[in-house]
Symmetry: C2
Subunit: 253 residues, 2 copies
């Protein structure tokens, strides 16, 4: 029985894709079986592994809209114990079809993941920057939510909107949904802003804030260009160490 964690935030550019990909890679490095699924049509997950979303024969689009068996959408990666399903929607029309299909059947994604959950220990869902039906379906399919918070800007207003939407999903569709934790990303430990944001978040969310935080490091900004997770090209970097420590924190809970 896999643990399904949805990485969510309606705020753009906070590190959702970077976290889903590098956390999954770190979990696999610690010898648990991990799958990362690109729910976001922007193809962040496929870029992170150097696969072109449009050239892949099967992916999230076919799994949901054409209902192909989920196993056919799974791709292996260069990391043992790590597989990936990319989002291969090719244009705005296909994206609309995907959104409509999930609006019609809210449990579609949950059912499709249930087909393969016995093969994995962890399944990570990389969500788009919106509280739309792609994100809501992911919240319905998930056991828990991991919420990245950028270490440079923190809006209680936007976290409030996210938590209200999560409570609504839990009430109507998924009683056991809980918050895995809030993850501070792109933290600059030397500025006052970094310290202030971290204090504000801890005051607001208490022990739901992960002990591990992710530093801002150009090595993580470069990772998509290297087309692989950071642990594959710079295991000694502060980014790799942070995501490995996050994986341990989650796996030993």
């Amino acid at each position: 029985m896999a643990k399904v964690i949805a990485v969510v935030s309606q705020k753009g550019g906070v590190g959702k894709t970077t976290t889903a990909v590098n956390l999954a890679a770190s979990i696999a490095a610690l010898e648990a079986r991990a799958l990362v699924v690109g729910i976001d049509p922007q193809c962040g997950v496929s870029t992170s592994f150097g696969k072109d979303g449009k050239s892949v024969s099967y992916g999230v689009y076919n799994m949901i809209y054409h209902d192909i068996p989920t196993t056919e959408a799974i791709l292996n990666t260069d990391i043992q114990f790590l597989d990936v399903i990319v989002n291969n929607t090719a244009n705005p029309e296909e994206e609309d079809q995907l959104v409509q299909a999930l609006r019609k059947d809210r449990f579609k994604l949950k059912d499709k993941l249930a087909e393969i959950d016995k093969f994995y220990d962890y399944i990570l869902l990389d969500c788009p920057p919106a509280l739309n039906s792609l994100t809501i379906s992911s919240m319905i399919a998930a056991n828990s939510l991991l919420v990245p918070v950028q270490g440079e800007f923190f809006s209680m207003d936007s976290l409030g909107k996210l938590l209200r939407a999560a409570r609504e999903v839990a009430k109507r569709y998924n009683q056991s949904l809980f918050i895995e934790g809030f993850l501070l990303t792109m933290v600059n430990y030397h500025t006052n802003l970094g310290k202030k944001i971290s204090e504000n978040l801890k005051r607001a969310m208490g022990d739901k804030v992960f002990t591990t935080s992710i530093p801002r490091t150009v090595r993580l900004a470069e990772a998509p260009l290297m087309k692989k997770p950071i642990i594959l090209f710079d295991i000694n970097s502060s980014g790799s160490k942070a995501y490995l420590s996050l994986a341990q924190e989650i796996m030993t809970k």
Copy 2:
């Protein structure tokens, strides 16, 4: 007759809101009348001016969904010549209503802005990180598109998707739509990554890349916390100088 510029990118966190707000403020500082409109339901524009999207009586939601006169949604700011219309959608249901209304009448936003375009020289539209009906309606209402490209990651794939969607809009709804330019944001001039991205973008897009680029500076990350555009709290910062130079570049074209 105002010039309407839509600030678009389906990639999250590239500096759309920061650019719409600070470019509008810089245009106003150069004594032209500017209006910035928060098309993105995430309320980035309202946060940037310290207004709580939900507590404002009229905004984009009422303007589009209830068809109130556009003049009623306009708010003044602390900067002479700069006004704002915030996005006051309060929850996912209202967001769905806004999206459905724009899907039904693609020209709705264009028509609503035409009610007030004689009062402004420039109108800037802050778009959400998606190629959905909010962004498409903005492309239909706009004279031109300003595309921020983060100086740390550049995907020709995702720019390609954006340009294809813009060409589609121009063909079907708005023949005169053109690219105002590509703006490099959050540039770190000292790393190889910064130099490489800037070269890649200039090679791909030629003279459509603005001469001005925006440096990564913590003062711009702090601006939303200060609840005002950067020129109001730190006119000498590199962020202010960059956005003033961008305003000049656009106004003297």
